[in-house]
């Protein structure tokens, strides 16, 4: 349950979804300089990544970068999922840098795909 004082300056959203049979918690927090996403099945932050969207020069398409700050550096699907999330956000006008935390029991492509899908359907941008 959320305990949110009226007028609290950080907008947040929390929900749970079943991803391939595993309960997955999603938390979004919007700060003025960054967005924080925590997506976890483990009760822990898991792998913590930063992402940036660089605004395009004129005709060039934007570039997105993901960096692992803590956790699994050898699991490319995590960074790929983070990049997809950032790309989807940018496609609807959200260019804020993000911190994305992912704690999954299983890193199968189908899990990543459903997580990215959940975020694009239900988010705070």
């Amino acid at each position: 349950a959320m305990d949110l004082a009226p007028g609290f300056p950080v907008k947040t959203k929390m929900y749970s979804r079943d991803i391939q049979g595993v309960k997955t918690d999603f938390l979004f927090s919007a700060y003025i300089d960054r967005l924080l996403l925590i997506i976890t099945q483990l009760g822990a932050a898991g792998t913590i990544m930063t992402t940036t969207s660089d605004a395009a020069f004129e005709a060039q398409s934007p570039t997105y970068t993901t960096t692992v700050l803590s956790g699994k550096r050898d699991e490319p699907l995590l960074q790929l999922a983070a990049r997809r999330i950032v790309e989807n956000a940018a496609s609807v006008g959200c260019m804020r840098p993000m911190i994305i935390c992912m704690g999954f029991k299983d890193h199968a492509p189908q899990v990543m795909k459903e997580v990215v899908q959940a975020v694009s359907e239900d988010n705070i941008w």
Binding site: A1, M2, D3, L4, A5, G7, F8, P9, V10, T12, M14, S16, D25, L27, S29, Y31, I32, D33, R34, L36, I38, T40, L42, G43, A44, A45, G46, T47, I48, T50, L69, S70, G71, K72, I99, C101
Partner: protein, 142 residues
Amino acid sequence: MRQRCFTETTAEATIHYQIVDLGRQLYVWAAVGNPKLGNLCMSIPTQMDPIPAVATLLPSSANSESSSVAQRIALKMQRPVLCSWNIPGTSPMLEAIAERRLLQELRDMFGTQQQQVQEQTGQAAHAEGLAGAQPATQAANS
């Protein structure tokens, strides 16, 4: 997962707090003024040292107590803490008020810690992603 967001108005400033119980870990955020996520560090209790290990994930531009606060919370709560501390370092009184309030709210959310110490120390050795981080050697104030 559960969350508590609240604001405290002191004579000096208005402080905003966000506490998230992820289950096995905590995320805490506090800020004065603009709601920025300006820095981030992680502290994890470990069996190798009475003081929890701490790593800076996102450094802060200003002099910040983020690491020490994270360690003290991790020690008191006996669980890993992700901490973003945006209280100006120029005001030690304000920092002390904010930390005290945060710990008070955490104690209210989690009740007594006796049982939890036994449960949590087992997990402490499995610190993810802190390889290469130097544990700070400052003593944690109680």
